[in-house]
């Protein structure tokens, strides 16, 4: 197990380094300097600005300084918000996005695996068709459509819930969390259904039944562990998708989280901010993939041996 964790973690390092390198040079290759705004500035001011952001150095030099700053947790100043650093902005948005993502994932895992297990217990009956059709709707209805529809129905027509903000008024966290979680609930439902169906035909379940265990013990204790394995492996990629989903949801519900910062930085051409957020989010995603792989290997020893080979 430790060998697996070690090897798998080592694999993450080149990925993170590749992300930083590609992002850095992509952003540097962007046409038009960050200060080529409408306002004309005097050459001296221009030079001073470029010196401040180290743009007067050769690219390789800039890259090395950026890396060494990054290791020390310094992502440099924002181009767009004067006097504020990128890490400051990131850590301002992070708790909000993390909370939103946590609720969404919670909704997705609970509702999704419940629906999937229910459907798998009686395949090809109404108990299977109804949750699986709903899951199909969840997959085909993108968040940028579901969100506004929920706003229209529950926020405007029924006037039950607030439609924007985060923690400003009671219940304003409900709609964004549902919007973000719905699609993943749908995926998880499908994954857990197929996982459960596969496990249900295994010999060890027949053994468990033959021992005379009550059906709920067979399912809760023996089937769930194997049946939910695909869901565990999906959580890593789901987390990545959740982050990009938060771009849309935070924009729709005007939530001041990381996703909205990222989209705004993209529009403002705030290059240091784009660079910093990309590096930060990518690292987060790589780490989460790593954790989900480790969790899957812990539950399924076969994966470990495959990797060690």
């Amino acid at each position: 197990m430790w060998r697996f964790i070690g090897l798998r973690s080592l694999q993450a390092i080149p990925v993170i380094l590749a992300v930083i390198t590609v992002t850095f040079f992509l952003v540097r290759a962007a046409p038009g300097g960050p200060f080529s705004s409408e306002k004309a500035v005097s050459p001296q001011v221009q030079a001073a600005l470029e010196a401040q952001y180290r743009l007067d150095q050769p690219p390789l030099q800039q890259y090395i300084s950026y890396l060494s700053d990054l290791v020390q947790g310094n992502m440099g100043p924002s181009f767009y918000y004067p006097g504020r650093s990128v890490d400051e902005l990131i850590f301002q948005g992070l708790p909000i996005t993390a909370e939103l993502g946590f609720y969404a994932l919670l909704i997705a895992v609970i509702i999704g695996s419940f629906a999937g297990v229910i459907a798998a217990l009686k395949p090809n009956t109404m108990q299977d068709y109804v949750p699986m059709s709903l899951a199909m709707v969840g997959i085909c209805m993108p968040s940028f459509l579901l969100g506004p529809s929920l706003v229209l129905v529950f926020g405007i027509l029924l006037d039950w819930l607030p439609v924007s903000g985060w923690g400003d008024s009671r219940g304003d966290k409900i709609l964004p969390s549902i919007t973000l979680g719905a699609m993943y609930a749908a995926y998880i439902a499908r994954l857990s259904r197929s996982g459960m169906l596969e496990v249900m035909s295994q010999d060890y379940l027949r053994t468990a039944r033959a021992k005379g265990l009550p059906e709920y013990v067979v399912i809760l204790k023996h089937a769930l562990r194997g049946g939910l394995l695909p869901v565990i492996s999906y959580l890593g990629p789901a987390f990545a998708a959740l982050l990009s989903g938060s771009f849309v949801v935070e924009t729709i519900f005007q939530i001041p989280g990381l996703g909205r910062f990222y989209v705004q930085a993209a529009f403002n051409r705030d290059y240091t901010m784009i660079l910093g957020t990309t590096v930060f989010l990518s690292t987060l995603i790589v780490v989460f993939n790593l954790l989900s792989d480790i969790a899957a290997a812990w539950l399924n020893p076969r994966l470990r041996y495959q990797f060690n080979k």
Binding site: R193, E198, A241, V248
Partner: protein, 297 residues
């Protein structure tokens, strides 16, 4: 009993040999949801193909005096705030959305199949190196990279195709590589090698056609993903730019005005959702038909 008659009767009862594809077609035909999906898709594709000739109004015909009106006899799906006919705009938007879906998927298909086939056929160190590269690329958060690309290099359609295609080829490469790897152990491949065929000829003539089933299935399931990605980017304002139109863009306009003019959100939303539905149902049906071993997830 006349023995001759018996033989004749037997003759009639011998089932005609069916190929894998005919077999799959029969199975697909039995799947009602898939056939409905296929029918709907063909309908949408024909409409979008014929749009310039059948659209009731011009694409950018504005009628500011009219403004946004709900569906009526003249404007079946209503008009937007500039008095532009929604049906026309949805049809034109569908052209772009479908085009992105098909072209980006083709990009993924070509890269993925070529790469996967080479890795699977070569085997050994080449294979290990190529697939490790895919693993590393797979771990990259591509959504963020696509946004980055759109920001850095401007929002052009060609780049969008390439960027989306570049993401989606990875899974395709894995699938094809797995298939080719198991196929190349077969005797007919050995026969082809001993006949002196070049590796390229073996891959193209013998291996890829036999790996086509899973590839078709995955392709059908990639198209909705790609269309969703395009709509997502256009919704954020990072994809298709006005005056071009796509369903994602129409939905994002619809969201802005949904309180006063809900039909501006409902109709493009329906167009996108129903098309995605159709593609997913068709994809599921194809998987059951062509690749019965693959589990449903």
């Amino acid at each position: 009993m006349n023995p001759k008659m018996d033989i004749q009767a037997l003759d009639q009862n011998i089932p005609k040999g069916t190929s894998l594809w005919e077999d799959a077609l029969v199975r697909l035909r039995k799947n009602k949801l898939s056939m409905i999906g296929l029918g709907f898709l063909l309908f949408v594709m024909i409409l979008c193909l014929l749009t310039p000739w059948i659209a009731p109004y011009g694409y950018e015909d504005q009628n500011l005096r009219l403004g946004a009106i709900p569906p009526s006899a003249e404007h079946w799906l209503g008009t937007d705030t500039f008095g532009r006919d929604m049906l026309t705009r949805i049809l034109y938007g569908g052209r772009v959305s479908l085009l992105v879906g098909f072209i980006a998927t083709s990009v993924a298909l070509i890269i993925g199949v070529t790469y996967g086939a080479i890795a699977g056929y070569a085997g050994g160190k080449t294979d290990a190196f190529m697939m490790r590269l895919v693993d590393i690329l797979y771990a990259l958060p591509f959504m963020i990279f696509i946004i980055l690309l759109m920001v850095v290099f401007g929002r052009n359609l060609l780049l969008l195709f390439l960027a989306i295609g570049a993401v989606e080829w990875l899974v395709m490469a894995r699938i094809v590589r797995g298939q080719i790897q198991s196929l190349r152990q077969q005797e007919y491949v050995e026969a082809a090698i001993s006949l002196g065929l070049s590796p390229a000829a073996i891959i193209i003539r013998h291996l890829i056609p036999n790996a086509l089933g899973p590839v078709i299935v995955y392709t059908t399931l990639t198209i909705p993903n790609v269309m969703l990605l395009e709509a997502f980017l256009s919704f954020l304002g990072l994809g298709i730019q006005p005056p071009e139109s796509s369903w994602g863009l129409l939905i994002s306009y619809g969201v802005e005005t949904m309180e006063e003019y809900p039909w501006l959100l409902i109709f493009p939303g329906l167009a996108l959702t129903l098309t995605l539905f159709a593609l997913n149902f068709l994809g599921d049906g194809l998987r059951d038909a062509l690749d019965p071993k693959a589990s449903k997830d």
